[in-house]
């Protein structure tokens, strides 16, 4: 049982990574991207292409896929999402919903509906014994990478010139421009960062599970639950939210194996009822 819960927490670190890119969009840029899950799957397919064409390990594909997704995110913000800003909440929702449908169908055309995974080789089966509990090396690596990425993101957005510019822009774009901040460029870079992080999540997801062009929305759901549980605008809260979700799902499978996701959703709803602002709400919307 302990093993199941620990594994749940480790899967939760992956959910946290799904959520981090969304947390940047939703919490820091205050801009919804409903296609977030589909971009995760898209990144996984790019990694798969690199693996099949060049025979490289998924972890080696990572430093190639992440920059590609940064560029995709930059272009997406600059040429699509930017046009929806300042017109209320509805246009970004509709545009990114449309984007989600388009992306799923493009992936279906390009990569077929077959279920795929990213073969991690020996890494997939390696395990370490901690007392009576055997823990996989890949889940441990996922947790370590997740903590590292969260720390880096928190540092960049919390205390650098770029991070301040992003927060100032989402507070008040017009006044941010008066400070000399090139707000459009700053948001494009932030979106690029969000999708580069999604690429990292995608590769760790692809190494432990299977994906096909239609699995994006479920990633989006887990990402969303992690972000809201942790609290909008709190970066570390998203990791905590992801881990709570992972443990809840693992606890569900202990009761009935197919019950995992449902228990996760129930914990999310209870969390939303008891703490509508999330666990670590740092700021209230002005």
């Amino acid at each position: 049982m302990l093993e199941t819960l620990i594994n749940g927490a480790l899967v939760g670190a992956l959910y946290g990574l799904y959520g981090l890119g969304l947390s940047l969009c939703l919490g820091l840029m205050r801009q919804i991207n409903l296609a977030h899950g589909d971009f995760i799957i898209f990144s996984a397919f790019i990694a798969l292409q690199l693996m099949t064409h060049f025979g490289i390990h998924p972890l080696l594909a990572l430093p190639i896929v992440a920059p590609i997704m940064f560029v995709v995110g930059w272009l997406l913000q600059r040429f699509v999402m930017e046009r929806t800003l300042g017109r209320g909440e509805m246009p970004p929702i509709l545009v990114s919903f449309g984007l989600s449908v388009i992306l799923q169908n493009v992936m279906l055309e390009l990569f077929s509906a077959d279920t795929k995974s990213l073969d991690p080789g020996a890494l997939g089966t390696a395990a370490v014994n901690l007392g009576s509990v055997a823990i996989g090396v890949l889940p441990l690596l996922t947790l370590a990478v997740a903590v590292g990425i969260f720390a880096l993101t928190a540092a960049v957005f919390g205390s650098t010139r770029f991070g301040r510019a992003v927060r100032a822009t989402s507070d008040n774009e017009a006044v941010a421009q008066l400070m000399g901040i090139r707000t459009r460029r700053v948001f494009a870079n932030a979106m690029g960062a969000a999708l580069a992080i999604s690429a990292i999540a995608a590769i760790f997801y692809g190494m432990r599970g299977t994906f096909d062009p239609s699995t994006g929305p479920e990633r989006m759901l887990f990402a969303f639950e992690a972000v809201i549980l942790g609290g909008l605008g709190s970066i570390w809260g998203t990791l905590a939210g992801g881990i709570i979700l992972g443990i809840a799902q693992a606890a569900g499978t202990l009761i009935i194996p197919s019950l995992g996701p449902l228990v996760g959703h129930i914990v999310f709803l209870i969390g939303l009822l008891l703490m509508p602002g999330g666990l670590f709400t740092k700021r209230i919307r002005a």
């Binding site: 301040r164 927060r167 100032a168 989402s170 008040n172 941010a176 400070m179 000399g180 901040i181 700021r283």
Partner: protein, 231 residues
């Protein structure tokens, strides 16, 4: 320092400025007064690049800045303290000040110097900007503008929404800046205060300057006539 010639601007089909001419000398403090809708805030919007003029020129220190973006104008040495303060709520007081220096314009202003002239701001440096009173926020907003090392400081309605006591604090803080070589333009509803604080005044009506002169020698009756359009 500031030279505005025949400036015309409109919000969509609605013309607001009809050939505005205004000159402000280096180091001078000018009070821009006028009734609501006279075009004071619009003049600031054009000067800061928020609104593109239809015609005319705006030059600061000999460089024409009309039609440039706000981002370029701040690096040419013009900073605005916006109406209603408009601090960034998700940033701390200190981060608000640091963001003011985003344009990286060289000059004598830095964090410690702002704290020196506004000691109350220094006390709250690590606090969220929303935790401050209106008067304290106004000091942060002025400090944030100074951080861009401006040659020209525009202050829009500094006293808006503040208690009279807080307004006194803000203006006495601003008084410390006189003699620092800044060219300052203030827009202020309280005419007595505007005249007391400035070297010169310019009264706007219907998008142009209808009366201007020395603030100390200002004739109150003449000003109210210009203000309300009476002869």
């Amino acid at each position: 320092m500031i030279s505005i010639t025949d400036l015309r601007a409109a919000y969509g089909p609605l013309p607001v400025l009809f050939g505005l001419d205004l000159n402000v000398a280096r180091g001078e403090t000018l009070a821009l007064i006028g009734a609501n809708g006279a075009g004071k805030t619009t003049t600031f919007a054009v000067m800061t690049g928020r609104l593109k003029p239809q015609a005319g020129s705006v030059s600061v220190a000999g460089r024409d800045i009309a039609g440039l973006t706000p981002m370029d104008i701040v690096s040419h040495g013009l900073a605005l303290v916006p109406e209603g303060r408009q601090l960034f709520p998700s940033l701390t007081v200190e981060e608000n000040l640091v963001v003011g220096a985003h344009s990286r314009r060289a000059g004598a202003w830095h964090l410690e110097r702002v704290y020196e002239i506004f000691p109350t701001v220094a006390e709250f440096r690590k606090r969220p900007s929303t935790a401050l009173s209106g008067g304290q926020q106004q000091l942060v907003a002025i400090g944030r503008a100074l951080m861009s090392n401006p040659e020209v400081l525009l202050c829009d309605e500094l006293s808006l929404g503040l208690s009279p006591a807080a307004v006194d604090v803000v203006y006495s803080a601003l008084q410390k800046l006189r003699g620092a070589g800044l060219t300052t333009v203030i827009v202020e509803q309280d005419i007595a205060r505007a005249l007391a604080f400035s070297d010169r005044f310019a009264c706007m009506r219907h998008g142009r300057i209808v009366l201007s002169g020395s603030s100390t020698a200002a004739d109150r009756t003449e000003i109210s006539n210009a203000y309300f359009g009476m002869r």
